[in-house]
Subunit: 413 residues, 2 copies
């Protein structure tokens, strides 16, 4: 009943949101950014309750840090909203236009997706981020955050809803589900009468639960078992540099490298060099038998190759050909980002064509799979599925399209 009320309100708001003009949306985004800074005290007070509760419950210091807002972090959130304001409106663009032999003119126009549900965990910055992206793209959002951050999320949502209300916009453009139990989450995933798309943002467990339970179409984002393949014709310095960057520059992100493939013909020169470099960050190596012939490391099991460590650990497989590398990668990757390092263009082409992933790199670190790095100006996530959008999703990926067809009485014979 509670969720149905939210769902109905969202559906009512979506027709209004879809028609909002760009200036009105931009004006509102700037006002939301300012209001979040103005209401810093209220937000930080709510955040303190969440932090205190977390600490009292023995929350891991890393999680407490994720949860914590500061004056500076709120400024960062507001700045993010101002950046979204500056982006082009993805709605109302003519994507195609043509006239059929019978004289009817068909126009394909971008439109919002409608009502987007976002299920996320303890980062309260998602609340404002998700609003700015969905609002700019004319969508309505229903947020289901984690219980850890509930007070902070309520405070942020209220600030945003007040700005909307004061500017004559339906505040139900953003609604937060204030019940944080699992049953409510499961019920939410089945609200296909009201919600058009569901985007889970969080760990693998959350995403698995959403895929298993949802009847609403889901966009799966951020599973990243990313590979770098070092070909026999690789530049060894470049390869070491790319692996070091992709593995260690930031450890807990979905575009970090988790697994290394290396051609047997280059392993003797390459493996000791990369092992030495990675030892600077104490990266634990786990190799297959061909790898262990060259460097001393732990055994890599089947499970290792299937694991997104998000940690200072790297699995290593030695292969006899680029074909074997492609096969290995297609077996274990998550369709996110994989890379080849080689000076041979034909080999690179084989890899770029053959590896099934959203982003396939040639002599570039996998760490660039990111909406900002791709020039999209924003990012709601990295899709690892085939439907709708693949790879970094910006504003355009939060739209669908409609056809309008105009004529003068055409009927079908």
């Amino acid at each position: 009943m509670y969720l149905e009320t939210l769902g109905k309100a969202a559906k009512a708001a979506k027709y209004e949101l879809a028609l909002l003009d760009t200036n009105k949306k931009n004006d509102c985004l700037l006002k939301v950014a300012a209001a979040l800074e103005d209401k810093e005290d209220v937000i930080l007070a709510a955040n303190k309750i969440d932090i205190d509760n977390g600490v009292a419950a023995g929350m891991h210091p890393g999680l407490v840090d994720r949860l914590k807002l500061t004056s500076e972090r709120i400024k960062g959130i507001a700045e993010g909203i101002r950046q979204v304001e500056a982006l082009d409106d993805p709605v109302g663009n003519v994507l195609d236009e043509y006239t059929r032999p019978n004289g009817m003119k068909i126009t394909k126009v971008s439109v919002p997706l409608g009502v987007i549900g976002i299920i996320y965990e303890s980062r309260p910055n998602v609340t404002a981020d998700a609003f700015s992206l969905t609002f700019k793209s004319g969508n309505v959002v229903i947020l289901k955050g984690g219980s850890d951050a509930i007070n902070t999320n309520i405070a942020i949502t209220n600030v945003i809803r007040d700005v909307l209300k004061n500017n004559g916009i339906n505040p139900d453009a953003i609604q937060l589900i204030e019940k944080t139990d699992r049953e409510t989450a499961n019920e939410f995933m089945k609200m296909s009468d009201y919600v058009d798309v569901l985007i889970p943002r969080g760990g693998a467990g959350l995403k698995k639960a959403v895929v298993a339970n949802a009847t609403i179409p889901v966009i799966v984002t951020g599973d990243g078992n990313c590979h770098v393949y070092v070909d026999k014709e690789a530049d060894i310095d470049m390869a070491v540099n790319i692996i070091f960057n992709a593995k260690t520059q930031r450890i807990g992100v979905c575009n970090a490298c988790e697994s290394l493939c290396v051609h047997k013909d280059i392993r003797d020169a390459f493996l000791p060099a990369v092992a030495k470099k990675l030892s600077e960050k104490n990266v634990e190596l786990r190799g297959d038998s061909l790898t262990k012939e060259v460097i001393d490391c732990k055994d890599a099991t089947e499970e290792d190759f299937a694991t997104e460590y998000l940690d200072y650990i790297l699995s290593i497989k030695t292969v006899e050909s680029v074909e074997e590398a492609i096969e290995h990668i297609n077996k274990y990757n998550t369709g996110h980002s994989d890379c080849i390092v080689t000076n041979n263009e034909a080999t690179a082409k084989k890899f770029l064509d053959g590896v099934d992933a959203a982003c396939v790199y040639w002599n570039v670190s996998t760490r660039f799979t990111d909406g900002f790095e791709f020039g999209l100006g924003a990012e709601i996530g990295i899709s690892t599925q085939m439907l709708h959008a693949r790879g970094p999703m910006g504003l355009k990926e939060l739209t669908s399209y409609k056809y309008t067809i105009t004529g003068n009485g055409q009927v079908r014979g």
Copy 2:
């Protein structure tokens, strides 16, 4: 276990299919068309078993007719495959290409979706149609047909697989699930490790079951509660003509009109005229109270407005404004096709912008929502969801994309 074997075979085939060149695919499609005609005897013999079984089980004559193949129908199926052969290859097209400030070049290229699952009912022509479309777009297909058509489906699939095998192509590009029980169907819908997309083709019950049970991303197609709104500034003759066409030209199709909205200011002139015309086909009218003030008809209930009749029945709602028409349509439509008849451009624009449907028509019959009529050259279905594709889906809508990124050692700072 049975399904897992099929799933693994499909996944193995998909990497090969994705790389097949256009000539090879076209050559194969022509050979499949010829083989289906050559093997007419085998197919018709298998079809006779299904027909005899159906008749013995008391199958409805309409269903028997759907199930029945003839020499002419097989020629029609082969002709359909030749038409797909003649279409452009949707795979490998550069959709976007640009270089980032750090020098890495990003290319967005169309790729197949991968493994497509199609669950359908008793029309055996779907078996060959679905193959031609998925094969041309580089996809692998797993078909789950109805038990009624199992012998026919096996015969057709075997002809196609033989052609593939004889031409050096992995025959697992097409596989038919030969177990037709419901349990197998339910298990199939959860094979997200092997199947990338599921497209149910059939009645509302089938689609509902798929949405409720599938963990594979689904494209919902063909729910069509389509409306025509006759504005106060409509040309009455045109409006009658469009309604008559949209309602009666073909009764059982998803783009047929199921509901009429009429502006109160034109009802006195329009409703008797349309009722008279529709009486030629004995269409049963069900109106709300404002409608019944003008014409004699049954009551339209809430349920009527929500029903896709696929029959000679039309619900009618009289409204006081275009806004009320839009609100009514957005409440009851299925996001398929809706139409306004008016001579007023501003009113038309309001309707085209405001109605939330894949195809919104101005002075054109809803019957044109169709891949061929839209010039797509083929059609796998009409999507009524927001994700991925909306409206008629042709070959392009059976693709996704990947990004390839090339550079010279870029790492992220």
